[in-house]
Amino acid sequence: MFEFFTDIKVDWMGKRKAFIALSVVILIAGLVSAIGRQFSEGGTDAFNLGVDFQGGTVVIAKFKQKPTSDEIRTALVGVGISDSVIQDSTDKGDEVLIKVPTLGKREQECPNIDEAGRCFVARALSTFGKEAEGAKSLAEDEASAYKIVGTETVGPVAGAALRNQAVIATLLGLVGILLFIAFRYDWTYAAGAVIAVFHDVLVTLAFFSVFQWEINLTVIAALLTLVGFSVNDSIVIFDRIRENLGLDRNKSLYDLTNDSINQTMSRTIITGGLVFLSVLALVIFGGEVLRGFSLALFVGVITGTFSTIAIASPIAIWWQDKLGAAKASDMPSARNADELASASRRSVIRRGAAR
């Protein structure tokens, strides 16, 4: 048997104040960034919303020699547009649809603000050569490399309606989680897990605000993923606490929680570590378009693992203390767990006897 981690004995709950302080610092940084940016003169918005959310301009460019979408994207990043959608027109092989977001203050750099999207794209595309002049077509102007054959402003793909729906659906989903955990375990655990999930989403958003990473539709998918990951992690430890409550009724909940975290630590490190490394690969090699997605998962994996120990468990303990039910034997779920544990033990014994 090959093992990294056995017999860990750390007083995790003793460090809860430091943990929570760390969370609070990150959350405050996010809040300051979001509010500060939103309300300061000449600042950007709280979040850097991508073209999916705020709309922008679609520019259709025709090339003599079409560059790859990656080359076009790099050229756009060169003029400061990192969130673009580039679609090849497959039936008109030499044309590309380039969607760029609204550029806010920077649009004033262009001679005609109404054509800011076109102006920035043209600036980026000039790395490939000259645009065909005036009314001349691409073929007529020998020296040219491309021509912008159309521009249109576009509304957001994910308008306010979809955004609200996403938020409402997610909140309802969390209510479902709350009820289920309360049913299977206890209200205190349910509250702990759901607050931890909220915490994780907020921490991730804080990173997106502070570093002004772009939020597009893929980030929403990543946030949903991290909600799942975080809840999963919390339940694994809650399940162990429930089991331990049934085995040892005299230990304090504080010690039981520490034991449970330590006993499952090898699982936490292996699962968390594997997911972490996979996501890291996505961050490094996944490319520009998936950057938002991978970064959100990256932050989410770390905070999702952290919050189980640092947020969910302390909240559950704290609340049970408040209820004066810190003694394990009073917990209704403890009795269930005991029955479940002994039931499975019985089945094992039976099985052994049959053999």
């Binding site: 576009v154 993923t225 399940d239």
Partner: protein
């Protein structure tokens, strides 16, 4: 566990696995040798999995809502309504006021943005009375789009100001967007994106949809106006329906001009080959009828519409419809008073069927005609989704590549495969023999999830892949939980069969709780979310349900095999 149970378990696993392999990699039609070559498998794979717009691209359609048609219709309706109100005005005692009303006229010109109508009043002293009467009944002073009123000695002219035109135009295109969205969703186009495009007054809509089998049909479906009206035919009562051989002839019967409460519509008889999606413009309809306006009820009162075939033949479908209670009331009142009169079912200004009223009818009717099954289905669907406020025209059409960019998808795929390979290697290294179990469970999870997506005809998009990734993550986690538990039991000094058994039993409790929690929240996401959220939820739900099979059932079966083979096993490779 008995030998038989073990064999049954194994058989179940094998059957499911082979079925899934066939679903994912197999051909959809008949088998040929090429289905076993690398290229053939690749082709089948691409055919079996529906990829969304972000991963594969699709059609890119720019359409314009012809709001000028909407304004024109609005002007003409208000014109006719104003005329009829003024003409039929009665005083408190019910006696006709008999205003000296002249012939009403309207100007609608999209180029100059003129939409106005003039109501001539012979006696200037009655002008105020007429205006008051009209405004009581016709919505001309709505604060959002009030008509401007200009009076002369000879009458009154109402003009729709530019601001109101703009507002109404925007309203119409917003409504059109909603209706189009409803139609494509009902038709089953998966994960389309629909957004307003162009300047605010261009009334353009951009639709991108992943490859559908029949884009032409979707295009037609979106463009169907589907304006349904039930109207009275001006004719002598049953049994002689008054029809005319040409529009001119019909016009003559009206004295050379359509009065405000009459319209001439072509009447396509049932036996003529007129389909809903394609009007045959080359062949002029043979008969015309004169119809009384306004309609008795219109498509807004529709509750239900469906395609039915009386004869069972595939190209002989009709549309049966039912009205909402409010419409049924109106319709019932009218039919009660009009026994033996003729009524027309008018679709987009064309009389589709005409019948005489045998007895009072409340809420049922039929659009006859020789529709094919698909055109009748499409028409029924569009009738239910509501009429477009104005016709639309297609301005641009192209097929586009994936919105995430082919290169970035490639980067994402190779990064993910790299991550997966790492996970597999780690599991084999860390858990040795048991790691093989984990890898089998993991591969099976992916295979079965994709097979399930194919069964449910789902479209895979990036959010869907995120769901798949989370599912795989939880599959790995399930195995880790089980193995760690078994190790714990072994450390406690229990023998190998007991440890394995205990490990599975205990870890199963955890696994079922984590999975149920996530499934519950995903079902809620699926119910209340849309588009990307739904795509995520569907793959995650499928992935987790399958995981209970692959990580627990399959993995355990393999362990049991191992234990049966070597009863006296001293050391478990874990």
């Amino acid at each position: 566990m008995s030998k038989t149970t073990l064999w049954i378990r194994t058989a179940v696993i094998l059957v499911i696995t082979i079925g899934a392999v066939w679903l994912v990699f197999g051909p959809r039609g008949s088998i040929s040798m090429s289905d076993f070559s690398y290229d053939g498998i690749k082709k089948n794979l691409a055919q079996n999995i529906n990829l969304g717009l972000d991963l594969k691209g699709g059609s890119h359609l720019v359409m314009r809502v012809k709001t000028e048609e909407y304004l024109k219709k609005l002007t003409e309706n208000d014109r006719d309504a104003a005329y009829l109100v003024a003409k039929e005005a009665k005083d408190e005692n019910g006696a006709p006021k008999q205003f000296p009303i002249g012939e009403v006229s309207s100007v609608t010109d999209a180029k100059t943005n003129t939409y106005s109508f003039t109501l001539p009043v012979g006696d200037p002293s009655k002008l105020q009375d007429v205006i008051d009467e009209v405004k009581k009944k016709v919505d001309l002073a709505n604060p959002n789009f009030a008509w401007t009123e200009s009076r002369t000695d000879s009458g009154v002219t109402w003009t729709l100001p530019l601001a109101a035109q703009k507002k109404l135009g925007e309203q119409a295109s917003e409504q059109a967007l909603r209706i189009i969205e409803g139609r494509i969703n009902q038709f089953g186009v998966k994960e389309p994106t629909l957004q307003p495009i162009g300047a605010a007054d261009s009334h353009q809509i951009l639709l991108q949809m992943p490859g559908v089998d029949d884009p032409e049909r979707v295009k037609n479906l979106i463009g169907l106006e589907s304006r349904l009206e039930l109207m009275k035919v001006v004719s002598s009562p049953y049994p002689t329906l008054q029809t005319y051989a040409s529009r001119e002839e019909a016009l003559q019967s009206l004295g050379g001009k359509e009065p405000p409460n009459r319209k001439i519509y072509p009447y396509a008889e049932r036996d003529e080959d007129v389909t809903a999606t394609k009007k045959d413009d080359t062949k002029p309809p043979s008969r015309f009828v004169v119809i009384e306006t306004p309609a008795i009820v219109d498509g807004n009162e529709l509750r239900e519409a469906s395609a039915v075939s009386r004869t069972g033949s595939n190209d002989d479908y009709q549309i049966a419809f039912a009205l909402k209670p409010s419409g049924a009331q109106k319709f019932g009142d009218w039919t009660g008073k009009n026994i033996n009169n003729y009524m027309a079912v008018v679709l987009n200004d064309e009389a589709k069927s005409i019948a005489y009223i045998k007895s009072q009818i409340f809420d049922r009717g039929e659009i006859s005609g020789r529709f094919t099954k698909s055109s009748a289905d499409d028409l029924a669907l569009t009738l239910k989704s509501g009429a477009l406020p104005a016709p639309i025209e297609y301005q641009e059409e192209r097929t586009v590549g994936p919105s995430l960019g082919a290169d970035s998808i490639r980067a994402g795929v190779s990064a993910s495969i790299g991550g997966l390979v790492f996970v597999v290697l780690f599991m084999l290294f860390y858990y040795r023999g048991a790691g093989v179990n984990a890898v089998i469970a993991l591969v099976l999870n992916m295979l079965l999830t994709i097979a399930a997506l194919i069964i449910f005809d789902s479209t895979l998009t990036l959010p869907g892949i995120a769901g798949l990734i989370l599912g795989i993550g939880m599959a790995v986690d399930s195995n880790v939980l089980i193995f760690e538990r078994i190790r714990e039991e072994l450390r406690d000094g229990k023998d190998i069969p007991t440890s394995v058994s205990l490990g599975f039993d205990r870890a199963f409790l955890t696994i079922i709780d984590t999975h149920l929690t996530t499934i519950i929240s995903s079902v809620i996401l699926w119910m209340y979310g849309s588009g990307p959220i739904k795509g995520f939820a569907v793959t995650l739900i499928l992935g987790l349900l399958i995981n209970l099979f692959s990580a627990v059932f399959v993995s355990r079966t393999i362990f049991i095999w191992l234990l049966q083979r070597k009863r006296t096993m001293q050391k478990l490779s874990i």
